[in-house]
Subunit: 237 residues, 6 copies
Amino acid sequence: MLTRKNNRAINQLRPIKFTPGFTKNAAGSVLVEFGDTKVIVTASIEDKVPRFLQDTGKGWLTAEYSLLPGSTDKRVSRDRGMLVSGRTQEIQRLIGRSLRAAVDLTKIGEKTVIIDADVIQADGGTRTASISGGYIALCEALKDFTPSPLLEQVAAVSVGIIDGEILLDLDYSEDSNADADANIVMTASGKILEFQVTSEKKPFNMEQAIKILETGEKGIKDIIAIREQLHLLPSQP
Amino acid sequence: MLTRKNNRAINQLRPIKFTPGFTKNAAGSVLVEFGDTKVIVTASIEDKVPRFLQDTGKGWLTAEYSLLPGSTDKRVSRDRGMLVSGRTQEIQRLIGRSLRAAVDLTKIGEKTVIIDADVIQADGGTRTASISGGYIALCEALKDFTPSPLLEQVAAVSVGIIDGEILLDLDYSEDSNADADANIVMTASGKILEFQVTSEKKPFNMEQAIKILETGEKGIKDIIAIREQLHLLPSQP
Amino acid sequence: MLTRKNNRAINQLRPIKFTPGFTKNAAGSVLVEFGDTKVIVTASIEDKVPRFLQDTGKGWLTAEYSLLPGSTDKRVSRDRGMLVSGRTQEIQRLIGRSLRAAVDLTKIGEKTVIIDADVIQADGGTRTASISGGYIALCEALKDFTPSPLLEQVAAVSVGIIDGEILLDLDYSEDSNADADANIVMTASGKILEFQVTSEKKPFNMEQAIKILETGEKGIKDIIAIREQLHLLPSQP
Amino acid sequence: MLTRKNNRAINQLRPIKFTPGFTKNAAGSVLVEFGDTKVIVTASIEDKVPRFLQDTGKGWLTAEYSLLPGSTDKRVSRDRGMLVSGRTQEIQRLIGRSLRAAVDLTKIGEKTVIIDADVIQADGGTRTASISGGYIALCEALKDFTPSPLLEQVAAVSVGIIDGEILLDLDYSEDSNADADANIVMTASGKILEFQVTSEKKPFNMEQAIKILETGEKGIKDIIAIREQLHLLPSQP
Amino acid sequence: MLTRKNNRAINQLRPIKFTPGFTKNAAGSVLVEFGDTKVIVTASIEDKVPRFLQDTGKGWLTAEYSLLPGSTDKRVSRDRGMLVSGRTQEIQRLIGRSLRAAVDLTKIGEKTVIIDADVIQADGGTRTASISGGYIALCEALKDFTPSPLLEQVAAVSVGIIDGEILLDLDYSEDSNADADANIVMTASGKILEFQVTSEKKPFNMEQAIKILETGEKGIKDIIAIREQLHLLPSQP
Amino acid sequence: MLTRKNNRAINQLRPIKFTPGFTKNAAGSVLVEFGDTKVIVTASIEDKVPRFLQDTGKGWLTAEYSLLPGSTDKRVSRDRGMLVSGRTQEIQRLIGRSLRAAVDLTKIGEKTVIIDADVIQADGGTRTASISGGYIALCEALKDFTPSPLLEQVAAVSVGIIDGEILLDLDYSEDSNADADANIVMTASGKILEFQVTSEKKPFNMEQAIKILETGEKGIKDIIAIREQLHLLPSQP
C-alpha cells in the first residue's frame, strides 16, 4: 500500500493555514498555505466593468494567477500579460468562475473585483489553494457592502489516482506521478460548481470518477471547517 | 416537459455525418457535422518534436482550433496565433490531450502530428465534434505506420442541464440556456479520458453529476457506432 | 511547346465552380473552386466603421485572408491577427480594394462589410479566386439594401510567363516555375481596377506586359460568364 | 489643361539629387531627393542568411522602410518592427524584390545585404525614391566584391492619372488626387521588373495602362542618366 | 521644520528587516522590509548564459522586478514580460548592474544568476530595497561556490529633497512630494556604483547634489550594519 | 597621460553644430552634430493629451528615440514601438523629463509636444546630443505661443572616467573603455535637472563624483554659448 509523506492518510489534507490581512494595500489579502504550497491572494475593487456589462448595473469578478519565477525548483519564466500560457489561462478562468459563483454580482453595482493569486512557493494544488484562499480575500474586500453580496462559501481541492488509489490534496511529487487528476469546487452546502478530471497517464472508469468526487467533497468540508475557525467570514444567509 | 428542436429525445444525438478526405493536401482530413455544427479537421505530420522530446525517439501530438470569422451569426475576430483567447487555448489543449490518448507516441518516431480543427459553421459542441472527427483525420494520417500506433478509438460529446433535465449533445441555443454543461471524452471500451462539468447558472448535485456521465457514455457509444460504419478506421489491437 | 495538366489551352481557365450559401450563419457565403484551389468566402456586416469614417454617413469594406494550416502539402503556420505576414497583408489589401470598387459605400450607411477568405485547399490563384468568389458573397450580403449599392461586377484572375509563353490561371506547380506572374482585377465592362506584374525569375518587356493584360481580360470575361449562370447576381444598373 | 507646380511638364521628373556617402558607418549610404521627398538609404552586410538559404552558398538581400515620425505634416506613429503596417510591408517587399533583381546573389556568398530606407521628409514617391537611391547604396556596399555581383542598373518611378492626364513622378498633393497610380521598376536596358497600377478613384482602360508604362519608362531613363553622372556606379558587364 | 512619520530624523532609515530563506525552492530567497515596503527577492541559477558570453567561461547576472497587482492602493496591471513598462525596465537594469558589481562573474562558470524582486507591498524605495535584499539572496545562492565569487557587499538607498531638506529613505507619501529624488548604490568600503538624481518638481544646485550623496552614504552604512548582524553574509576578502 | 583624438583637451567638447530647420514638415526640426554623432530631432504638436491630463487644461511633452539601423558600424535592429529595448526606454524617458523641465506646460493648453530623436550616425553621446538639439526643435515648434511657454534653456552632456581622468563628451571609442560614465542635464542658470553616473568597470569615490559634475557644468556652458550664436532661441524671461 502507498505511503504518503508524513504518514498522511489517503483522504487527509496537508496542514492548511490561512493568514488574512497578509498585506495591507489591497482591499482583501491572505497568505494561503496547503503544506508547502504558499499563495498570496489579494482582492482589489475597480470602478469599472467590462464592456458587456456597461449600463446594466451589475458588477464582475475576474482573476489573475501567476507562479512567481522563484516559486519552483527550476525557475519558471514570468507569464506575459496578454501572452499568458494556456495553463495559466485555464487556471485563472477556473478561479474566476468559481469565485463569481460565491457573489451576487447584482449587489455590488458596476464594479469589478479582481482576484490576484501569486504563488510564492509551489508544491502542488496551487489552483485549489488559490480558490480556497481567494474566498477569504473576497470576503474582506466586500465586508462593507450592505446587504452582503456573498451567497455561499466556496472552496476547492484536488484529488488524484495513483496506482489505483484515490488520494486527496496531492503534493507536487504525487501530482507528477498521478494516472489521473481532478479539481473539485463546491459550496458549503455541498453543491458542485466545477468538476474536472483528466487522465494523465491512464484512463479510468465510472466508479473511480464517482469515488474521486466523494473524496473531493470530504476534503472541501474539511477546508471549510478550518476556515470557519478564523471567524472572519460573514455568516451566510 | 422540455421540447427539443426536431423532437429530438433528451438523450439523442443530432444527425452526425463524417466526410473523410474532405481536402486533399493534408495527411488526413475530414468534414464533421453534428447537426448544424460543421468543422474541417486536418491532421498534418512534421518531422520535428518539441524540445522536451528531442533525442527521446518519441513523437508528439498537438492541436489547434479556431472559429472562422464567418462561422457564427455575429462575426468573431480571428484568433491571433500566440495571442489566442483563453477559451481557444482550453479547447485546443483538450483536443490535444484527448487525441494523444489514442496514440502510442513511441511508435511514430520523432514526429509531431498536428490536428487543426477549423469551425466553418458553429452551432454548439464544436470541441466535441473536433475530437470525434479529429480521430478520423488522425487514422488517415497514420495509416502507413506499421505497426499501427493507434491504441483505441476516442470520441467526445457534450451534455448539459436545463431546467433539471439532463440533455445530450446541446446545440447553441440550448447551450446558452444551460444551468451547467459538460464535456466527456471516452474510449471505445468505455474508459474515461476527460470529464469536465461546470455550473454556468446554477450549481448541481452529486447525483446529477453521475447522470451526466452516464448520458455522455450513451452518446459516445452512438458516435462510435456511426463512425464504424465508415469502415475506414483501423481495426484495433 | 509547353503542355498543361489535363491538356488545358494556354489561355484556358481551370474548371471553375461556385457554391453560394455554403455556410449559413454569415450574411453571405460561398465555396469557390478554381481547379484544386478551394476557398470559403463569407461576407459579414457590422454596425460600425473605422474612425476616419465616423459621422460621414459612409460605409466601409475590408477583407481578411488566411490559408488554413492544412490547406497545403506542407502545413503552414496560422497567421496571427495583428502579426500577419507581409504576403497575407498584401493579399487582404488587394481583396479589399478590389471589392470596395464594386460597391457604392455611400449607400450602405455607417456599416462595415467584412470579407473573410479562408483557403481550405491551395493550388495556386487563391487571391484571385477569393476576389471572384468574394463578389458573390458580397451580393448575397447586400441583397436587402434598396437601392442596390452594387456598382458593377468584379472578377480577378492570374496570368504568368513560363518559357516565354503567356499562361492563364496558373496552378501551383506552374506558379512555382513562372518567370513572371501577374494578377488582374477588372469589371464586367472591361475596366481595369488593378494590375500587378512581377518578375520572379526574369524581367520581361513591354510587349509581354501588354499580352499579359489581354490574356487576363479574356479570363475575366470567362469567369463572369460562368458566374452569370448562377442567376443569383443582381442585374447591374 | 492641368498645371503642375513649378510648371513641370506632365512627363517631367522633379529635381533629383543623390548624395552618396551621406553617413559613414554603414557599408553604403545615400541621401536621395526627389523634389521635397528626402530619404536616407543605407546598405549593411551581415554574415548570415535566412534559414532557407543556409548551406546553399547563396546570399540574400532584404529591405526595411520607415517614415520617420516627423517626416510628414501630421506626425506618423513609428512602425513597430514585427508589427509593421500593411502599407510598410508592401513597400519593403517591393524594394527588396526590385534590388534583389540587380544582384547575382550567388556571387556574394552566405551574406545578407540589408537595405534600410528611412524617409526624413515625405512628399510623394518615397518607395520609388528608395529603390532608385537604394541602388547607389547597394553599389557602394558591394564595391569590394570581385567579380562584381551587380547585374544591371535598376531604377523606379511613379506615374498617375489625374483628370485623364498621365503624369510622371507625382508629388504628395498630386498623389492624393490621382484617379489611379502606378509604380514601375525597370532595368537600364529597358526590361520591366515590376509594374503595379491601382485604380484609387476611377477604373481605367487598357490604352491608359499602356500609356502609363511608356511614361514610366521615359522617367526611368531620365533617372538613370542623372545617376550615371555620379560616376560612382560600377560599369556593368 | 518638516516632521516625518513616527518622528523619524531626516537622515534616519525606516525600520529595516531581512528574513532570509523566506521561500525554499529558489537557490536564494529573502523577504526584505523597509518600513511598509515588502519585497520577496529570490536568486535562481541557470546553466546557460546570454549569447554574447557563450564559450567565454564567464557567467552573468540579470534581474527582473515586478509590482504584484495587489501591492499598491490602486491595483497596478501586471507587467507583461517582453512588454514591460519603461519604469520597470529601468529598475531591473539598475538592480542587475548593481548586483553584477558584487560578483566576480569569471568565478561562476557559464551560469546565469537571475534575481527576481517581487514587491508584495509598496510604500516607496522598492528598487533600493530590492538591491539591499537581493544581495542576501545572492549570497545564499552562491554559498557553495569555492572560492567565493563574491567581491564586496553592495547596498542601496533612496534620498530626496522636500522643501529644501535632504531626507533619507523616502516613503511613498514623501516620494510623491519630493522636488528631486535620488538612488545611490555603494559598496561596503564606500565606493559608489551608481548615483542617479532627478529633479521631479524643481531643479537643484551642486551643493545639494553633494549633500544628497553624503546622506545616501550614511544610509548605506546603516543598512550594511543591520545586514551584518544576520551573520549569514560571507566574510569578504 | 591620455591623448584624445584630434588632441582634444580632457574638458573640451567635440566640434558641435546645429542645423535648425533641417526638414520642413515637422513643427520644429534640427540636425545636431557632436563630432561624428549626428541626430535628426523633430518636434511635432498633437491636439491631445494623455488620459491623466484630460480636462486639466495642461499640456504634455514626450520623446521617442531611435538608432536608425545603418547608424552604427554593425547594423542595429529597429526598435519595435511598444517593444522598445530597455536602453531605448531609458533614453526616451530621460529626453522627455529633461525637455519637460524647459516648458511651462500650463501655457500650451491640452496639446502634446512629441520630440523625435533619430540617430543617423552614432559615435557616442547620442542621448545628450538629442537633448541639446531637441531644445532647438522645441523652441521652433513653440515659437507662435504667446506668452512663450519656455522657461529656461536646457542642455546636456556626457562625462566619463578613463584611467582616473575625468573626460568631457566621450566619443564611442572612449565610452567603450570608460570605467564609469555620466550624463548631466542642466539649465542655462546652472541648475541641475538630472545627474546619472554609473560605474561600468570600476566603482569611483565621492571626490570623483563631484569632479564629474563640475566637468559637466563646464561643458553645458560651452554648448549653451554655441547655441546662443544661432540667434534663434527666444530670449528668456
